[in-house]
Symmetry: C3
Subunit: 324 residues, 3 copies
């Protein structure tokens, strides 16, 4: 158990889902295929399935995120699991307990799965290293490191609209440096074998190691989205502007906002994605966000299917291990 | 879907419950009859029923109200539904997302029903206009506009004690102007055909359009409750006093507080209601609140039965629509 | 129903669990035996059991404690009950409602069981006096008075490691005066018939009536733990130091911190317990807390089994009463 926790068991089955890194193409495709079976058809209600009946899933959120927490809670309940929401902000940590003690206590509570969100990079890995053998950990966002289920729901959305990944050009636009989503997306796109991944961002919002990520870098929005099939807009954290990394929202929009006019530069059938919540008139206009090329709302809906897929695969695997 | 959302389908079956307005007498009676089957007998425990098994109900509260939220959660769980509590105060809205984006995201999450509470009048209607065809919306209080399940539990309480609505005189006492409950009660009482609805309030706490609501107005408590069968006390919002709409709590009590002595003016078998929480010694004395004519605690208990009725009728209808 | 509420019915079966006081040895042993059937074996997952299917349990917390609340929620869900979390801090009380009104309202909501935590001593008893005949109340900590399920999980931990209580010497170390856990532990240990209960504390942290509790008092840590079989460390509330009842954390540790060296004074097979969260380097060193004699994490795990035992016994009894 020393070092990096294994995300899959010796037969290659999913146990934890901490980071896109380390997965092979077939494994990611397997998750997408599983999500397909849970995906909601328009006009048809989600059906509850008994796959995780009798299991306890704990949402372990060290960072407030009602939206993400609710999506995981909904996915878990649709799988018939019981859900416990453990918001650690208001809990023991504030009494002076160390993170390690909190972890050990949580482990002693014997949940079947922990969905973890934490402001520190590596937190989900750390927790995965400490849980009991039968327990799964899903990373719901750790610092600037990874947000793998968000990346997978984006891959699912792309596949639903584009079918094959191979010929695609994909542009990721915005604050790459502070985005755990962007890191996970870049990895997933490269593993899935797209033709080209572009990052489009001002120099102040690019990580130092950006060239090592297997991307083409653009510092101009119109050039960056030229002829792409998919545009992934990142959410702009307004606090970056206070840090003087960015000019005002208005100036940002002048240079980096996606307008209907700029969107003409992409392929005519290009889709526009955004993880939400949207800052309308900052990173994207309402015309584009609500327009025919936007698939933003489908992302939310697919997010539940993808989370159901990851959760049921991780738990199914565990049961298999134990012969239950 | 333009304009006002329909609360019933083409066969007159309940789909949303947003406002008392627009319902016919038979429809309100049907809700009361359904609630009767869920009503708890004294000394007997509530029984859980499987009517909404497999359904997901989301409590979508833009305004904090643990008590109301808990009552709906209990009703939903007694119907065997799964419940997700989504408190939007601490969620995406605070990140700068528009209400419309929040709504669309919530819609994409595909709950079967949303119980909505919002500080703005019309919010539940607005949400009902945007949800998918199969989804129901229950208004759990919107601004000063409506709180229809609260009004219906009051009607249920009245019917339990008085039987027939036709001969009744009912007085609603207190801050009519700011009360969404009062507006819903006045409508329900008139639709159910009571003999007389009176509103009893200081001039500063009456809405400008009060005469159009089908009520008799009194500015004196003792005259207002003379010979009535039912007294509904409203809760006094203490913040009204800060706004100079009201004198001190002590002065208010002198003029408007319901005492045992004043209660003599009503019919000997009159019942006293209050939605809670009570400000003892402000709008009502403890002697009256805890006395033999008070039915305040029964209101809470009946509230669960009424909410079970509304929820199961709205969902039952939905299933019927889809042939499931 | 006047005066003290009965924790057991006329046949001696558990109904409420408010305080260790008043229970006979066989009754406490019966709880420990029931917990044994729920206790988790290492490497084996907890199994959900249908004992409380269809029951509604309300966590009624007037004081924030995510950890305790979560443990009860987990225990309830493993028993297949539905759980409603009612945090009264943010609820009606803040609107000026009296505690009695809150209680009556809660009673009208007809839960099957209330798990109560309150900052005032006696709150759980008060609530137990007011609930309907079929309803159970579990005390999850009231002021400085009692925390009986915590004490019982400590007894369970001791029995698991030591078997027979009769020959044991047990030392409770730390802030006895402000500890509801210590009071409950002392009673339970004496009822279970241990050989000797010691309290080890500075004079400022001992209650005035300490000699009446059936304990031996020590004002020196090394003498106090000499030859004991069990050391129960209490958590130090840092706010005591602000009150000038205590010197700094560093000085406290010099005199009262449990180090590996001091631990030598106890019996070689002595176990070390702590309710958590731990202040490492204040009341205990990491070496001891994580060392081979520490059973701290097992306490958490056993806590779920003990709470499942108490909850199912209290409810089972209730069903029996009503012939259901």
């Amino acid at each position: 158990m020393n070092g990096e926790p294994q995300q899959t068991d010796t037969q290659g089955k999913l146990r934890h889902f901490l980071s896109i890194e380390g997965f092979r193409r077939e494994q990611l495709v397997q998750i997408l295929d599983a999500a397909e079976s849970f995906a909601m058809l328009p006009g048809r209600q989600v059906k509850k399935v008994p796959l995780l009946r009798g299991k306890i899933i704990t949402n372990l959120f060290f960072e407030n995120s009602t939206r993400t927490r609710t999506t995981f809670e909904l996915a878990a309940k649709l799988l018939s699991a019981d859900v416990i929401n453990f918001n650690v902000n208001v809990s023991a940590t504030s009494k002076g307990e160390t993170l390690l003690d909190t972890l050990r206590n949580i482990e002693a509570m014997h949940s079947d799965m922990f969905v973890v969100r934490h402001h520190a990079s590596g937190a989900a890995h750390f927790i995965a290293q400490h849980v009991a053998p039968g327990v799964s950990v899903i990373n719901a966002g750790d610092g600037r490191h990874a947000h793998p289920t968000q990346a997978m729901l984006d891959m699912f959305t792309i596949r639903r609209h584009k079918g094959d990944f191979t010929p695609l050009r994909v542009a990721i636009v915005g604050d790459i440096q502070h985005s755990r989503v962007a890191r996970s997306q870049i990895m997933a796109l490269n593993i899935l074998g797209v033709s080209e991944v572009r990052v489009v961002a001002p120099r102040t919002l690019l990580p130092a190691d950006v060239r090592t990520l297997g991307v083409h870098v653009f510092h101009d929005l119109e050039q960056g989205i030229e002829d792409v099939d998919v545009i992934i807009m990142l959410r702009l954290q307004r606090e970056r502007m206070d840090n003087a990394l960015l000019p005002s929202a208005h100036e940002y929009f002048q240079l980096w906002g996606l307008t209907q006019e700029r969107l003409q530069r992409a392929r005519p059938d290009a889709i526009v994605m955004h993880p939400g919540p949207i800052n309308r008139g900052v990173e994207i206009t309402s015309e584009v966000a609500d327009g025919p090329q936007s698939v933003i709302l489908q992302q939310v809906s697919y997010g539940i299917a993808v989370r159901m897929a990851v959760m049921s695969m991780a738990m199914g695997n565990r049961s298999g291990d134990q012969g239950t």
